[in-house]
Amino acid sequence: MSEPRHERMTSDLLRPLERTSWRFYTLVIVLGAIVATGLGTWAYQMYNGFGVSGITWPIFWAFYITNFVFWIGISHAGTLISAILRLVNARWRRPVTRCAEVITAFALMIGAMFPIIHLGRPWLFFWLLPYPSSRRIWPNFRSPLVWDFFAISTYLTGSVLFLFLPMIPDFALVRDRSTGFRRKAYGVLALGWSGTTRQWHRLESAMQIMAIAIIPVAVSVHTIVSFDFSMAPVPMWHSTIFGPYFVAGAIFSGIAALIIAMAALRKFLHLEAYLHTLHFENLGKLLLMMSLLWGYFVFAERLTTWYGNEASEMAVLNVTQRGSFAPLYWTMVVCNFIVPLSILSFKRLRTIAGCVTASFGVLIGMWLERFLIVVPSLGHKYLPNSWGQYRPRPVEILITIATFAAMSLLYVLFSKFVPIISIWELKVGEHPVHEASPAPNRRPEPLFQSEP
């Protein structure tokens, strides 16, 4: 194929690995400091007792569970883009898959920290593992939290493998271009890959199986997270719509996170030739669709509650729409629905900047949505005499900020050590189109665009 183009592609995509600027070090130090602060805050919470947080009777879940659901939701980006687009053979996915899968892996790792952070006795979290203990007791499989454990472990294992497997040929590429310690390190990661036809075939088969398997797992993970709420008899939690509602919300927030990550990579790693406006356009259209879907679910849920007119549920409905939570609620509606619809419905506004703006709005809106599901319901259960208020305290706010810094830090470090766009997949994309029903004179999609 076109050797100079491939050479250019390889050197472009390996440049972040080969050259480091002072900006990288600054970013790592700043983000690292924030993450360290978060860890220190958590240690402070463990040492002094959970009372340093804002949790109170009867609002026993607040920021940490909001963050848990939020980050697990973000992790659905990778599965949607990578697995689903891979299965439907969407050609525009090729530069985007690894960015998305990285978000999934790291968002899952961060999200999975929160069930531990929010425990009263976090040093005993391993009691959720089903192991034959000397106390002869096993976890309670009727508990949605145990389902969470299995679901998140399966999804994390699957996602990490799904991320790692297509990295192997790229590790081999870096191995062969390096010397010394780098060569050895990447050699270990490449697992002795040479690139025989047999290996390529097995790799592609494995990727196919994983893509098929990871989609039901992803759907089940966020459904099970929603079961944490819907299995409890709490007004406006005990709703049958929660499963699909949460999955839709997860994909929604995941696409927003992906757009932001891709825009950042495009700018800071000078990947304008690879991440085209077409990619952002397509993701922007997906974001628009998910915004409409989200609006549909919220409307269906609230209309049903309003018609049901059950006293406890109406109390929660009113406190979110008209009471003390109203400012947050309407901000959420604007960020999740009005802003994305206004920007993304019009082709002229569906630029990279437009998509990024809408995505930031969606991230804020989705975080608020999780918060507004958890806290108002807990504060207004069936007995009005025991209703309560929640106010976050510095511990929770610091840890929340630290997780955003942790995500950014992990992403920055990853893009330094691994090519953020899958080089071999991009090269395959340049091959003549060879699909099941090929259009006769279809030109392969150009990898480069001469204009930025």
């Binding site: 096993w138 690139g195 395959v428």
Partner: protein, 165 residues
């Protein structure tokens, strides 16, 4: 002694593979190495047959059975009543069984990949770093056919650069 040649295009590599076959080299003795997969070419289809999908399915079944065993056995081992639910509660058990099914499928697919692709082995039998520059390696690590015949077959295709190990 292993004989191989580097070719600049996959068309040349395909012609080389055909020539080797017509020179009497067995199909499974021919190794083609590239830095990207060439699914459109016949030389990629030789190794197509794989048990991986069946193994992944079997792994899924194993995961399902393990999930069933884990939940129902542990629930019966020390029966603790909760919330008026039965001791072996199948609705919640299904959730765990579902997850372990897919975990089984995923892990067995990856295990099959590692084994059948020979990943994790210290040293690949035949390799040339020029492959990463886009060259395609067609070679015969060992065969009943003599090395000279192989060399002649490979050299017959234009653009070949012959090497031996």
């Amino acid at each position: 002694m292993a004989v191989y040649a580097l070719f600049p295009t996959p068309d040349a590599a395909q012609r080389a593979v055909n020539k080797l076959r017509s020179s009497g080299v067995a199909n499974r003795d021919i190794v083609v190495i590239s830095s990207e997969p060439y699914e459109e070419y016949e030389f990629s289809h030789r190794d197509k047959h794989t048990w991986m999908f069946w193994i992944a399915g079997a792994g899924g079944v194993l995961g399902f059975l393990f999930g069933t065993f884990l939940t129902s056995f542990t629930e019966r081992a020390w029966p603790i009543p909760t919330g008026g639910m039965p001791i072996v509660a199948w609705w919640p058990n299904i959730v765990v069984m579902f997850e372990l099914t897919f975990l089984g499928a995923i892990l067995s697919a990856v295990a099959t990949l590692v084994v059948s692709a020979g990943l994790g082995r210290r040293r690949p039998n035949l390799y040339d770093p020029e492959v990463i520059d886009g060259q395609i390696l067609v070679g015969v690590p060992r065969s009943s056919v003599s090395a000279d015949i192989v060399k002649r077959a490979l050299a017959a295709i234009e653009g070949a650069r012959l090497k031996t190990i």
